[in-house]
Amino acid sequence: MRMQWLRAGSRQEFERFVLGRSDQLLRTAYLLAGDLAEAEDLVQETLLQVARRWHKVRGMDHPAAYARRILVNAAIDGAGQRGRRASELASAATFRLEDRPDYRAERALRAVDTQAVLLAALARLSARQRAVIVLRYWEDLPEVEVAAVLGCSVGTVKSTASRGLARLRAAVGAQASSGPAGAPDHRPVNISQRRSR
């Protein structure tokens, strides 16, 4: 495998592919996972899988679409683990973010910020709904391509997007009617990433 990889000169092609596509993959992974470390791991796993099959992938019409499909499905598959980790984090006695003054301040600020409300609501969607929303509104993919990525019908994409958008709208609506006191939940694992930027 390694000899074939080197002999075909495809290593350089793959490296160009990584240089050209990894940023977009990482940003998509970040929106899907809501955590930078998770996003990096997802992209690393995706690109390792692409590298292993590069002799086939390089001949595809859209290698980037293949990589995106691996990434999105890995993110959906790993969502349960992330959810358990996040709840473990929130419930740890030594780790109550709610008690932190800086966190309360951040939450108050977010309450008047539609963007923050949307992102917080996005984090509460199911992994599949989140994937549909990210692919439609960040990657700008048409429904038929979203269906191809997720391996489902266009009808399923439409209904999933509709339910996801309804929940996001409801979150924004609730925020608008209740003001800061009605601020939505947070994304605990993401707080550190926000501070480190």
Partner: protein, 206 residues
Amino acid sequence: VKTDAFETDLRQALAREAAAVPAAACERVRHRDYRPRAHSRAAVASAGLVIAALAASGGAYLAGVTRDSAGGVPSATSPLTGATITLDGYRFALPAGFKAITATCTAPIRGGLAPSATVGSKFAAGASAHGGCVEAALFSGKLTLPGTASAVRVGNHQGYVMAQPAEHRIALYVSIPAAGGGHWLVITAKDLSRAEVVAIAARALG
């Protein structure tokens, strides 16, 4: 909220959030080594023997790996075929290309734990020719976890990770039950992924 305005807000929110990914993270992802690794028959056979031995000895490490894999935690780690460093009976197998060193190689993570006392040997460390390094130490005492840590399972143990992506540094804190009070295994690393650091600790504690 009207549909058009709402969808515009949504697109802008996603675009701003995506744009906030640090350049250092993009750089790190770009420059990892993704080449397929050659697997010789001898290596495969050796791996089989190691797995069989671990399974026969109770499989604590395998249990942790299985749980992580089932949960979707990426297994994208370099094989731990580099040097093995030892600290108070714990053996840390390091990634390929790492050698044991006697000097400390990483600075403390900002906002990390401020442990009261080290336990036993001061530390054990390894480094690679490409600038990567990893350092393990044991601490005792009651420690307050910083708010910027994220929880992670390390085999059968509870761990917490803190990262400084801009500096490619990461610290893993693992709680280890011990007679007379809990201990903490602290692994600080540079240019290693979270999955790699967790794998090093899980194997040592398994």
